[in-house]
Symmetry: C2
Subunit: 225 residues, 2 copies
């Protein structure tokens, strides 16, 4: 998935990174409209437990999923040396990881305060596997590629696995978001309504964002193309 | 995504194709156990409308999703000339498309007989987009790559887009399957039970199958490696 392998695409990554940013903004907007207008906003402590739950989709989509997509594109969007790009990539992924962990904490808190069982759904299984793999991927990337850093031949043979496993984790994050939207949609008993449309379009925007991020990785960039 | 670009993976596709076949068998088994043992089996006409619904997950997972994954791997699993592999790839994809269309017909029939509205969920939107794109991809591949077939430079510049769009459609098919499982899980009101575990493990097996199919595409094959 290295850039040079795909120069067969006669197309530069730049317009697709712009499209991804627009989809990220649109997705963030819909999530905020949904949670603020239809679901009553956010709180860490409240008698309205729904406000605690609402932190979960906010932090997972706006704090974790969209940022990790943006950070995957760093090598195409941030000018500078490879080293600078790597530091960006790892630092911003770490901040997203913290937001993700906080988002998972929020939903456990919500379950706990209402006596709802945890970890029985496919959504929760996918989500927990995703954040766990993400943490492992982050740690191994830090040690192998940044500090203390493996020798060149080892780095070269590890790189494609880092790309592949990263792609799988990003795919899993998208799967988790979509299954979470569908699960909440069912819990709310929605069918045809404004709120239903907003949730479904959020799902479509997340998918299109994921696809455009995936495409930017394959297309040749401006800085290293 | 052409094989030669990824010879940086020092690993052959063969063991991963075997793993994918095993996951396909395991996933098929779980779907059959779920639908036959817990959900009462299949029927095209019945007073037990659930039996009509059951044709939907059967045809979509066992008739469509798993076969399209297997057919993606044809270039790594079926020996023979490129032309023979292409004919396999297109013919088997066409049969899977027919199974998918029949599976969608089954769920519309189920909705119709019970007066349930159609196409209001993210699952249905994703599924309909997936099958539509699949049909378009199939038609364009037939005309560009098989008959009457575009000229070589055009084919070479279309090939990476065929791979990329194919990967997106396969990802969308997985997303649709997972959201369908989660939606049905909610409709059935499941939490912790044997049936819940079987449905969730089906979801995990589908994900692992998808990941292993994706990996075989990147790894060098035996026939063209």
């Amino acid at each position: 998935m290295a850039t040079r392998s795909h120069s067969s695409f006669q197309f530069s990554a730049f317009p697709v990174t712009m499209l991804a940013h627009l989809l990220a903004i649109a997705g963030t907007t819909l999530v905020l409209v949904w949670l603020l207008h239809f679901q009553g906003g956010f709180a860490f402590k409240s008698d309205n437990k729904q406000k605690i739950f609402n932190l979960h989709p906010l932090l997972m989509v706006v704090g974790y999923l969209i940022p990790i997509g943006e950070v995957i594109m760093v090598y195409k969007t941030v000018p500078g040396t490879r080293k600078v790009q790597k530091i960006f990539h790892l630092t911003l992924h770490f901040i997203a990881l913290l937001a993700g962990i906080l988002g998972i904490y929020a939903v456990f808190k919500f379950h706990h305060e209402l006596g709802i069982p945890d970890m029985y759904s496919l959504h929760s299984w996918l989500g927990m596997s995703t954040i766990g793999l993400f943490g492992l991927q982050w740690l191994s990337a830090f040690f192998f590629f940044l500090w203390p850093r493996a020798e060149m031949p080892a780095r070269a043979s590890l790189a494609p696995w880092h790309f592949f496993i990263g792609a799988v984790i990003f795919l899993m994050a998208i799967l988790t978001a979509e299954t979470g939207l569908v699960e909440k949609f069912s819990f709310l008993g929605l069918r045809r309504s404004q709120e239903a449309l907003i949730m479904n379009f959020t799902g479509l925007l997340i998918l299109l964002f994921g696809v455009s991020v995936g495409l930017t990785v394959l297309l040749p960039g401006n800085w290293i193309g």
